[in-house]
């Protein structure tokens, strides 16, 4: 709390308040009281605002354990009557038990994560550590593909995958990841690899290690933060992905969680919000857990690269 009186802190105690100038002229005791009050006010505002931000999520969580009739009657969070039947009802509301969709999503996500980790790190090693003709050219191409909207390629991809009879399999969702089409992560890892001292590779080279070995035994262990960022974001994106799963998976057997949820809305409509919320909560749990355990990397990853 004492650091609140330092100049840099004053700057950020609301630049707009003209009272700051007066504060500096008064003596220390008054200043301390004032900044303590300001700090309390600031924290109160931040907590209230944070609560408002999270309110919809909390409300959904609480609604999911209320009997259906109560969801619409009480806007408050605390349920007067706890009823877990929404979860059991929701679990079996569709053609398959919800576990089926969770497993399908898990397969897609696992494939995407492994694919991105392996293929993007291989490509990144080449761009960061190997000298080859046309490196800058291909690197520029790689950067350009980051900005390409999926819509530009989705129609021919659909045609191609349907010719291969890959529609209603997980292949259209996993194979592109194995082929490093999430170029964004190549870029992320190139940036990271460049920061690893070259002396390490040189020393390994002198000891007779080849590139594959350097890649696997030196770069990979050192690149754990970049790999974790890639894994976490791939997980969340693939779990939340709706557009491509909607296009490539049309058979209920193959539905992933987002597609199943959306079918749920259409088939049961407004009558069973409780069950719908319950399954929505279930669908958010994996992302929430990844968020909880991966926070350190998430914040670093987004701060340095701008991914969501």
């Amino acid at each position: 709390m004492t650091d609140l009186a330092t100049p840099s802190k004053v700057t950020f105690a609301e630049p707009s308040s003209p009272s700051d100038r007066r504060v500096r002229r008064t003596d220390g005791a008054v200043r301390r009281i004032r900044s303590a009050v300001a700090s309390v006010l600031k924290h109160t505002a931040l907590i209230v605002f944070g609560f408002v931000m999270l309110y919809p999520l909390l409300w959904m969580l609480m609604s999911s354990i209320k009997p259906n009739a109560l969801i619409f009657r009480e806007p408050g969070l605390i349920p007067t009557d706890v009823d877990l039947s929404n979860y059991t009802d929701g679990w079996s509301a569709l053609l398959h038990p919800f576990s089926r969709y969770l497993i399908n999503s898990a397969i897609v996500v696992l494939g995407a994560v492994i694919g991105n980790l392996v293929s993007c790190s291989l490509a990144a090693y080449a761009f960061a550590r190997l000298n080859f003709r046309g490196r800058n050219f291909w690197f520029a191409i790689m950067l350009m593909t980051i900005m390409l909207p999926i819509h530009v390629i989705i129609v021919p991809q659909y045609v191609m995958f349907s010719r291969l009879e890959w529609i209603n399999t997980f292949l259209p969702l996993i194979v592109p990841k194995l082929l490093a089409t999430d170029a964004f992560f190549i870029f992320l890892m190139v940036q990271f690899f460049r920061g690893i001292p070259r002396e390490l590779d040189e020393a390994a080279r002198i000891d007779g290690a080849g590139h594959l070995r350097i890649y696997w035994q030196i770069m990979m262990p050192l690149a754990l933060p970049a790999l974790a960022t890639t894994a976490i974001f791939t997980f969340i994106w693939a779990w939340n992905d709706f557009f491509s799963q909607l296009i490539f998976l049309t058979k209920p057997d193959m539905y992933t969680v987002p597609i199943a949820l959306r079918t749920f809305v259409d088939s049961t409509g407004e009558s069973s919000w409780g069950a719908l919320f319950a399954m929505s909560i279930v669908s958010l749990i994996p992302v929430f857990l990844v968020f909880l355990f991966g926070q350190k990397y998430l914040v670093k990853g987004i701060a340095t690269t701008g991914i969501k």
Binding site: S119, N131, T145, F243, L298, I302
Partner: protein, 308 residues
């Protein structure tokens, strides 16, 4: 002398041999990426460009129609509507989102207690915002007997069915996008941390007050980050799909008021099987996003301050 020449020559030879070796290694490391680039990205891009000049329903062979799809677009009232919806969505939600992100980042700037917790709370919606579960939640919150109307009723105000009203439905999607301001906020926080403290100290010594310091130091030093966030969020917002799809029940309703461009593209391609038209729309989207990004870059000369 000659030994030096020999040494140089042999080093050169070694280097060129290594480069050749690197070339082969690079081909190996980049093989998955090259395969992805040609099979999953570039190939389909070329095919989609071709298809955009054809009439193609997936069942019979594509028939060349020249520029028909492109000229058709300007006579298609739904497409024009979707453009208007999309531009409104982007131009309203992105500035609001960035303003919220910047405001919170300034309040949260370094060294305050509980920073990590606040950051997480504000950031969480960014991770979940793109999911179907949150879109479902939004649909209920802004529904006729949803949370918003319950709260309004407590205040004695009679609400309306926000998502089912053509004047308000898009606003709910805008609010959803603004709600995910946590991602740009984390980037702003990282940017604020990089402004050297000594600038503020020097300005203080020169007698600059907090307001002056904010406008003369913080704002100019932060413009590159503002620019980065702006470019990124505009590109993202143009491609949003899931929320509009779920909230509108898949058709962009009511009265096409939430018919985002990507949603119309999806409907044209995958509901109407008008693949040629959808491809033309995709290329037009690429043009729009590219154009917007270019405008951003050109305009940045006038307001983005680089410290070099």
């Amino acid at each position: 002398m000659s030994s030096v020449i020999q040494e140089v020559a042999s080093t050169r030879r070694a280097a060129s041999e290594r480069r050749k070796g690197d070339g082969r290694m690079a081909a190996l490391f980049l093989a998955p990426w090259f395969a992805g680039l040609f099979l999953i990205t570039a190939g389909p891009m070329a095919a989609s460009l071709y298809l955009s000049f054809t009439d193609y329903d997936l069942l019979s062979a594509p028939a060349w129609v020249g520029l028909d799809n492109y000229t058709r677009m300007f006579e298609d009232p739904r497409l024009l509507q979707s453009l208007q919806v999309t531009f409104t969505y982007v131009f309203v939600s992105v500035p609001l989102q960035l303003a919220a992100a910047l405001a919170l980042a300034l309040v949260l700037d370094k060294g305050m207690r509980g920073l990590a917790l606040y950051r997480s709370v504000y950031y969480l919606p960014s991770l979940l915002g793109g999911s179907v579960a949150i879109a479902i939640l939004w649909r209920q919150i802004f529904g006729a007997d949803g949370l918003v109307n319950q709260v309004l009723a407590l205040l004695g105000i009679e609400g309306t069915g926000w998502v089912s009203h053509p004047d308000h439905a898009l606003n709910t999607l805008i609010i959803l996008n603004v709600w995910t301001f946590g991602a740009p906020m984390v980037i702003f926080l990282a940017g604020l941390r990089q402004i050297p403290r000594m600038y503020y100290e020097a300005a203080s010594i020169d007698g600059a007050g907090p307001v002056r310091r904010f406008w003369s130091i913080t704002v100019p030093m932060l413009t590159p980050i503002v620019f980065f966030n702006l470019v990124l969020q505009v590109i993202n917002a143009f491609q949003n799909f899931t929320q509009a799809f779920v909230v509108s029940g898949g058709n962009g309703g009511p009265a096409d008021s939430t018919l985002l461009y990507t949603l119309y593209l999806y409907r044209k391609g995958f509901a109407d099987l008008d693949m040629g038209y959808a491809s033309a729309m995709a290329w037009f989207l690429l043009l729009i996003i590219g154009g917007m990004t270019l405008v951003n870059f050109l305009a940045s000369k006038y307001w983005v301050h680089y410290d070099d």
